[in-house]
């Protein structure tokens, strides 16, 4: 059965997690480029990005709340740049949260499997949005970063964990 392979280098070995380190308040962490491929013999389709809890620790509610904020002091969150072919020129902001090539995960956008953001061709897809061909090289890729708001409400806790996922369908 087909397996999705997440890596941090083109064609590299599978990586199960990324430690983004310590991110000061009011700043964005280093954008990390993530590569995705699969081992199926046919294309996978309907590929869409979303975020979810890791191990049901429920940090995701706080992180999505950062993306919901319209106030610059409270805005932040999990940000995706899907313009690999354009060399990632633009990131979401509190006043411009999404476009065809970037988005911040927030309520109703990338927050669930049903609200997954379909991968655009600018992630390096060969032909159609949401379709990753077998053996694609260079791999489908995007950049991901975490922005910590300048003002933190409450005590979110020590290390925060969550998961990025791609939903897909595969027909043998």
């Amino acid at each position: 059965m087909v397996t999705l392979i997440w890596t941090i280098t083109n064609g590299g070995g599978s990586v199960a997690y990324i430690d983004h380190g310590s991110i000061p308040v009011g700043t964005s962490g280093t954008a990390r480029e993530i590569f995705v491929r699969h081992d199926g013999v046919n294309p996978i389709t309907n590929c869409g990005l979303y975020v979810t809890d890791y191990n049901q620790n429920d940090f995701i509610a706080t992180l999505l709340g950062w993306g919901d904020e319209d106030n610059v002091s409270y805005f932040g969150g999990l940000q995706f740049n899907l313009d690999a072919t354009g060399l990632y020129p633009t990131w979401p902001t509190y006043g411009d949260k999404s476009s065809d090539t970037y988005f911040v995960a927030k309520t109703g956008l990338g927050d669930s499997i049903t609200n997954a953001v379909v991968l655009p061709i600018t992630t390096g897809l060969a032909t159609s949005a949401g379709v990753i061909q077998p053996g694609t090289s260079p791999n489908v890729r995007f950049k991901f970063r975490i922005q910590v708001p300048a003002t933190i409400v409450g005590d979110p806790g020590p290390a925060m964990a969550f998961e990025t996922r791609i939903r897909f369908t595969y027909t043998s």
Binding site: S22, A159, F162, T164, R165, I166, R167, T169, T171
Partner: protein
Amino acid sequence: MDIKYNIYYALTSDGPWTLANDSPLDHVPSGNSYTVSGLSLNTDYYISIIGGIVNDDDDFVPYVPQFVGPLNQEVATIGSSVVPHFLVRTYGIYRTSNTGMMHMFTIGE
């Protein structure tokens, strides 16, 4: 009599098979899709699409015996002295799936 289609899914190739559509589907051009609802995540399904007709009693009558062996996206054409028709029989494994990468960070001062 119009050509219709039924879509079935199952967890194993031996079934039991569940009818996915509420009523037989009309023919659609190649490339169109039909969304099968009610499937579980991270689960492999066998999918079979069977062509047939709806008879005067509103019963769906498949052109072939259903679920006979693994046929991988086979498209065959058969003829009839009464009504020209064709058969589409697809047998594949469909997965509705998700898989992820864990991220972690701490908030600095």
